[in-house]
């Protein structure tokens, strides 16, 4: 019991490992030999696995330079997409694969989505599967949860993450807690997604970062995508997950272009991504700040530092395995996030690392977050509410002394 209570991030249960769950870790070839029947199985999951076996499937889908054998061996040149197109592809593939997947949100159907993520899906799947709702976040989130209770798999789109605050009760109580309070009778396989974060002078109410509010809801998983590759992979994984998943996108990242594989791939929901291996300092980041960090990393490399950059991706639960290994290597941690300082993801991550890896740290963890202010409209002010590359460089230099 004590060991369980030392649990990190999410609640823990010491259960015997389910061998079939490891399919994500195996290469493509061994997928054939895996038994599909699982000990406490859900037959639905089993049948989906069966249907996947025939296609080539990239399982260890982490864009890591370190272990590139799985990805580079299997990936072909691929095709170029923008991030919103990657999300759309992921959504399209999942809707084609499972008739229970539906999209519920404002302007997702005929309009094609305010950020074009659901473009043309209504034409393909019909109005009932890509449902245009009135502007009633609280109730359409509730409706989606009710539908999920019976077995459908809705993807709820908040036009802006900030609007989902209106649906907080439904997300917290019904989405997150129903599986527990019903003693396991109901699963709520919803995906709640939408763009958040500070954009280009959108104003305070449209520049909110909700990760901090959602992170203590028990029962939900949170992931944040940052590249077209992981956006598509996370979208697919989130739809296939039996748990409610909140997928945080960022308003400014929708037009990122990247080459992604042609074949189907899913990315693990709980794993962090090693963006740049290094030796001196571990920089943990997610979403848009990844790009600020990479920009700062260029400057740092010129100055002679070797930062290790990890995109944590999974905001709840944290991938303390990857993070832990990195901390053990570098002994210095810098967290760069866009969340607010008070009660944000960085705060929780700092606590988690301190609790688990205190012995390995040579210096206190530095956490760079957005200022605890409503995002102002003026461009210059807005620029300084979020963390800028110069601040990251300065922090690394200070940390390394």
């Amino acid at each position: 019991m004590e060991a369980m209570l030392q649990g990190i991030g999410a609640a823990s249960a010491s259960v015997s490992p389910c061998p079939v769950d490891r399919y994500y870790r195996f290469g493509v070839a061994s997928l054939q030999s895996l038994p599909v029947i699982r000990p406490e199985g859900r037959t639905i999951a089993g049948s989906i696995l069966r249907s996947c076996r025939a296609r080539q499937f990239i399982t260890k889908a982490v864009a890591a330079k370190a272990d590139s054998n799985a990805t580079s061996a299997a990936s072909k040149p691929g095709h170029e997409v923008l991030l919103f197109e990657a999300l759309q592809e992921g959504l399209d593939e999942e809707m084609a694969r499972d008739p229970r997947v539906c999209v519920i949100g404002e302007d997702v159907g005929h309009y094609g989505g305010s950020y074009k993520v659901t473009k043309d899906l209504a034409k393909k799947y019909g109005d009932l599967r890509v449902l245009d709702t009135p502007i009633a976040e609280n109730s359409f989130t509730g409706m989606a949860v009710g539908a999920a209770m019976t077995g459908l798999r809705p993807v709820i789109e908040g036009m802006n993450m900030g609007f989902l605050l209106l649906a907080f009760n439904q997300i917290s109580d019904n989405c997150g807690m129903l599986h527990y309070t019903s003693g396991g009778q109901f699963t709520i396989p919803t995906v709640i997604r939408g763009p958040g974060g500070v954009g280009r002078q959108l104003g305070a109410e449209h520049s909110q970062r909700l990760e901090s509010y959602f992170q203590s809801i028990p029962g939900i998983q949170m992931v944040a995508c940052s590249t077209p590759y992981n956006a598509k992979g996370l979208m697919k994984a989130a739809i296939r997950s039996e748990n409610p998943v909140v997928l945080f996108e960022h308003v400014l990242l929708y037009n990122l272009k990247e080459r992604i594989p042609d074949e189907e791939y899913v990315v693990s929901l709980e794993e962090a991504e090693m963006v740049r291996p290094g030796e001196h300092v571990t920089i943990l980041t997610y979403s848009r700040m990844r790009y600020h960090v990479m920009q700062a990393a260029k400057t740092l490399v010129n100055k002679g530092y070797d930062p290790e950059v990890i995109d944590i991706r999974s905001l709840k639960p944290f991938d303390l395995y990857t993070i832990g290994n990195s901390v053990k290597k570098t002994h210095r941690v810098l967290i760069v996030e866009e969340c607010m300082r008070t009660g944000g993801i960085g705060a929780s991550l700092t606590a988690a690392i301190n609790e688990n890896f205190n012995d390995y740290l040579d210096a206190p963890i530095v956490c760079l977050s957005s200022q605890d202010v409503p995002t102002p409209y003026a461009g210059t002010l807005e620029e300084w509410t979020v963390v800028q590359p110069v601040q990251i460089v300065a922090a690394v230099e200070k940390l390394s002394q």
Binding site: G7, R25, G142, M143, T150, Y180, S182, G183, Q185, R240
Partner: protein, 389 residues
């Protein structure tokens, strides 16, 4: 008719009484037509007729089910005072007619979702007394394994979706259930029950708008017991005609203390919802207890009012009078049924008290669903902390 009854009385003394399957061969299960106590009032719809066809066996089922529910709620009252039930306990006695009338009109494939006053609806949907008491006392054998409590009773296989603590939050869920039924092209309906207090929630109107927009087979049932916790309805609502609140959605006002009227209304509503989309039913009912066990129930209403309703409109008394006047059962038989039910309830309580508390490891189960995906290991990568999909 009298002859068969007397002979079956003789047989009865030798056999144990099973209230639900006793005394009546199919030949004596005659169909009876009874008029409801008050006519229905419709809003933008023609109300159904006042004459309800029922049968003697159905009336007996009403009597036994309602007596069982009443007895269970009274027993829960004593258990709460004995500190075996903690937290919040919202009792449904007085409103049983809504539960049994609804059950009589629908199948188990139709869905029911309600708020926190859910014990009797759970029983009506096929829950057992043991599961109810065990859940109320937080034991392992409860319907939600002791982790839900009074406000979180669920029975998925029988279409009972709970059991929700936050006022009004269940109505969008109910419309979602209806949405799923429409999506999967099932010919069933979903009943979303809420109270007169919840009728002022915004999400209700949002959900109603969507249900009407997409013709969802959703039936919104307002159990109007005239008090929203401690506030009388005239102090909370500008327009207490809840059945008219749907505006463009038709509504029906029903005497919620008359199980037959409820049955007629629910049947009518089901037919309507399958063809034309949502409809609101307002059940004019009353609760004898306070809002919950921490509310004496007499600070905002007089004891005379409570006793008055109990004398004039009690649902069980109404059915008893019908049974006696139609010669379906004698006084003694009904009393025996009640005694039997009392015994059943006491046995269930005893069994529930024997049931163990949940294992400490249950604290962490069912937070996430196991299945698909990666195991998340602890820092040492040896022990599995959680298996996440």
């Amino acid at each position: 008719m009298a002859l068969t009854r007397r002979s079956s009385n003789l047989l009865k003394s030798l056999t144990t009484i099973n209230p639900t399957t006793r005394l009546f061969s199919t030949s004596s299960d005659s169909s009876i037509t009874i008029e409801t106590s008050v006519p229905f009032t419709g809003h933008k719809i023609d109300p159904p007729s006042r004459s309800v066809t029922t049968s003697s066996s159905e009336l007996m089922t009403f009597f036994t089910d309602m007596s069982q529910m009443r007895r269970m709620e009274i027993a829960a009252d004593s258990l709460y005072k004995a500190k075996l039930i903690r937290g919040f306990c919202h009792l449904y006695d007085g409103q049983e007619a809504v539960a049994v009338g609804m059950e009589a009109a629908i199948t188990r494939k139709d869905n029911i979702i309600t708020a926190y006053r859910d014990h009797c609806l759970y029983l009506g949907r096929g829950g057992t007394l043991l599961e109810t008491f065990a859940e109320l006392m937080g034991r392992k054998d409860g319907c939600s394994k002791g982790k839900g409590g009074s406000m979180h009773f669920y029975k998925k296989e029988n279409g009972f979706y709970g059991g929700h603590g936050i006022v009004g939050a269940q109505v969008p869920l109910g419309c979602g259930l209806a949405f799923a039924q429409k999506y999967s092209k099932e010919d069933n309906v979903s009943f979303a029950l809420y109270g007169d207090g919840a009728a002022n929630q915004g999400q209700l109107f949002e959900a109603l708008n969507m249900a009407a927009l997409w013709d969802l087979p959703a039936i919104l049932v307002c159990e109007n017991n005239h008090y929203g916790m401690g506030t009388a309805e005239w102090r909370a609502a500008k327009s207490p005609a809840y059945y008219k609140r749907g505006d463009y959605v038709p509504g029906l006002k029903v005497d919620g203390m008359d199980a037959l009227a409820v049955k007629q209304a629910c049947k009518f509503a089901k037919e309507h919802a399958l063809k034309n989309g949502p409809i609101i039913l307002e059940m004019d009912t009353y609760r004898y207890h306070g809002h919950s066990m921490s509310d004496p129930g007499s600070t905002y209403r007089t004891r005379d009012e409570i006793t008055g309703v109990r004398q004039e409109r009690d649902p069980i008394e109404r059915i008893r009078k019908l049974l006696l006047s139609h010669d379906i059962a004698t006084e003694k038989e009904l009393k025996d049924i009640e005694k039997e039910i009392r015994k059943e309830v006491d046995q269930a309580i005893a069994a529930a008290k024997e049931s163990p508390m949940p294992d400490p490891s249950e604290l962490f189960t069912n937070v996430y669903v196991k299945g698909y995906g990666v195991e998340a290991f602890g820092a040492d990568r040896k022990e599995v902390r959680t298996v996440l999909p």
